[in-house]
């Protein structure tokens, strides 16, 4: 059942299984172990699923949203991690998949999966956000729920081998500056990766929340560039070519460039700026009655740790510092909380993140003043949820 009675609760007769009666599920044996061997959610949670965008003509070059309103803590369950594909999800046989590393290296190499897994390994909890997350909200409030407005966002414990380790194995030449990463899907998606990131915390990962990557997240192998826009973290990774300049692929020229009002477009805007959103109470939900609620949300920054999150219930006129769930990790979803007593009058809920660089999450208006409304990507503005006096919650701009 949703945290708030957002979805109509059938008022069917509930007395049957409640005190003083012995519930029916206590009066006969339940399901045996392994029902099934790889467990699935309760049938009562069948509403908690990814939902599709309605902006694309084909479902193989499209995206689906994580149900942030139904999630707690800061780990996204693997089955609900958002999708953004350009040529559909390939069914790759891991025993045939290989990674080719060549270009400005002394020793061009090919790795199979077993070899990649033998390298020294790193497990690290990092967010993944599509740079197009929240793109529907540039011009006017459009998404109904936080899944619609912010759902191209997830966070997993990723495991893999540092890209730097593979580069050392291949003996990278000095004049190397950029690396082309190429996926083994039908779009053979390619992005240019700057060498300093490759040698910093870039990973070639094969596991997600403890198990093998899911097909939609790049099984059996993908790139992880903590804090960078999702599109660069190439899924189904098959090739890394070391070069001395950007490769100027379609995804970093025609797409994932940010058009300014003057007609110029910003290129190589890799980092996801500090951002936050309240997930409860949020759009489409309703407060069943006056009284105590804990305002909860998520904050994250591609530039490191979240330092502070403030919450306002009056549309930004007054703010209170929220509590952060520790240990706060860099480039990772961070859960924030603020106790709140709703007295029944209308309210405007906002959250504002500050990261370790001191950067303060801007208002929608401040961003539009500088970037216009055709920027498409990197919309990290403060989100406002209006609570009506009836407790109905909607997406608004102030």
């Amino acid at each position: 059942v949703p945290f708030l009675a957002g979805r109509g609760l059938a008022a069917e007769n509930k007395a049957g299984n409640q005190a003083p009666k012995v519930p029916e599920w206590m009066r006969s044996q339940g399901e045996p172990i392994l029902s099934p061997a790889y467990g699935v959610p309760s049938k009562f949670e069948r509403d908690v699923v990814r939902t599709p965008t309605d902006l694309t003509t084909t479902k193989t070059s499209s995206w689906s949203f994580t149900p942030l309103q139904d999630l707690e803590g800061s780990i996204t369950p693997n089955g609900l991690v958002f999708e953004r594909h350009h040529g559909g999800v390939p069914a790759i046989d891991p025993e045939q998949h290989e990674l080719m590393l060549h270009g400005l290296v002394d020793k061009p190499l090919i790795f199979d999966m077993a070899q990649l897994k033998r390298f020294p390994q790193v497990s690290i909890k990092r967010f993944l956000e599509c740079s197009g997350n929240t793109l529907t909200e540039w011009k006017e409030p459009t998404g109904k729920t936080v899944q619609d407005t912010h759902g191209l966002l997830s966070c997993c414990e990723w495991t893999g081998v540092p890209l730097a380790t593979l580069l050392r194995e291949a003996r990278v030449k000095d004049k190397a500056e950029w690396i082309l990463a190429e996926g083994a899907d039908a779009s053979a998606l390619t992005r240019s990766i700057p060498m300093d990131k490759a040698l910093d915390d870039a990973l070639v990962v094969y596991a997600q929340n403890g198990e093998a990557l899911r097909p939609e997240q790049g099984y059996p192998l993908r790139l992880l560039l903590p804090g960078f826009e999702g599109n660069m973290q190439v899924k189904w990774l098959r090739r890394l070519e070391v070069g001395d300049a950007p490769f100027m692929t379609r995804e970093e020229t025609s797409k994932y460039t940010d058009l300014m009002p003057n007609g110029q477009a910003r290129q190589f805007t890799f980092l996801m700026d500090a951002k936050s959103v309240i997930t409860a109470p949020s759009g489409g939900q309703s407060l069943p009655d006056k009284g105590f609620y804990e305002i909860r949300g998520l904050a994250w920054s591609g530039r490191g740790r979240i330092k502070r999150v403030d919450v306002s219930v009056d549309g930004g006129r007054n703010w209170q510092q929220a509590e952060l769930d520790g240990p706060v990790q860099p480039k990772c979803l961070t859960r924030f909380r603020l106790p709140w007593r709703w007295k029944g009058d209308s309210a405007l809920l906002q959250s504002r993140a500050i990261d370790e660089t001191g950067y303060v999450q801007p208002t929608h208006e401040q961003l539009v003043d500088v970037r216009g409304t055709n920027y498409v990507y990197h919309l990290n503005a403060i989100q406002t949820w209006e609570v009506s006096s009836q407790g109905e919650i909607s997406n608004v701009h102030v």
């Binding site: 090739r239 910003r266 703010w319």
Partner: protein, 174 residues
């Protein structure tokens, strides 16, 4: 960290050649072969028009043609002609991803031809101009200098006002 874990095997030149399909702005990576817009029209009509429209406009899928001069307008139209900075990227992308239903199926000659045709529809090459490993990189794209980097952000600075904060909108209203 030890330099050598002895994991992975040498990649042969033949293996690399099979997968090394990217084309760079310099033209590096372009294969042998050539094609003109004239050659490309038939390929476009049979393998591309159904999705992108007969003239690269009004198809169900992304518009490829037109939109020049609209980038600074309220309704910018970003196409190959109005937005792409390099013609070499067009070859690279068409060969690796198009037609959508059968990527990497076009031969070099076919890819040069249909690349030429899309450029032609945008008025950027003549119908009989042969594009090949030497000439494609020389095609001047209208929006060649339309991109700025490095990343200029942060480009907005908000303050963490806590009490009686005045909204921008109010500021403006004054």
């Amino acid at each position: 960290e030890q330099a050598d874990y002895g994991l992975g095997r040498p990649a042969s030149d033949a293996e690399i050649a099979g997968w090394n399909i990217d084309v760079r702005p310099s033209g590096a990576g372009l294969p042998e072969g050539s094609g003109t817009a004239g050659d490309g029209e038939a390929i476009y009509k049979t393998q591309c028009a159904a999705c992108h429209g007969p003239k690269g406009e009004n198809g169900a899928f992304p518009r490829l043609v037109g939109g020049q001069g609209t980038l600074a307008s309220d309704k910018p139209i970003k196409t190959v002609g109005s937005y792409w900075p390099y013609a070499t990227t067009l070859y690279d992308y068409i060969h690796r991803a198009m037609p959508l239903t059968s990527p990497q199926s076009l031969s070099p000659d076919e890819t040069y031809a249909v690349t030429a045709y899309v450029l032609y529809l945008n008025g950027l090459v003549d119908r009989d101009e042969a594009l090949d490993a030497g000439t494609l990189a020389k095609v001047e794209m209208p929006n060649r200098n339309g991109f700025v980097s490095p990343d200029p952000r942060p480009d907005v600075s908000n303050e963490a006002c806590m009490q009686d904060c005045v909204q921008n909108s109010e500021l403006k209203a004054k």
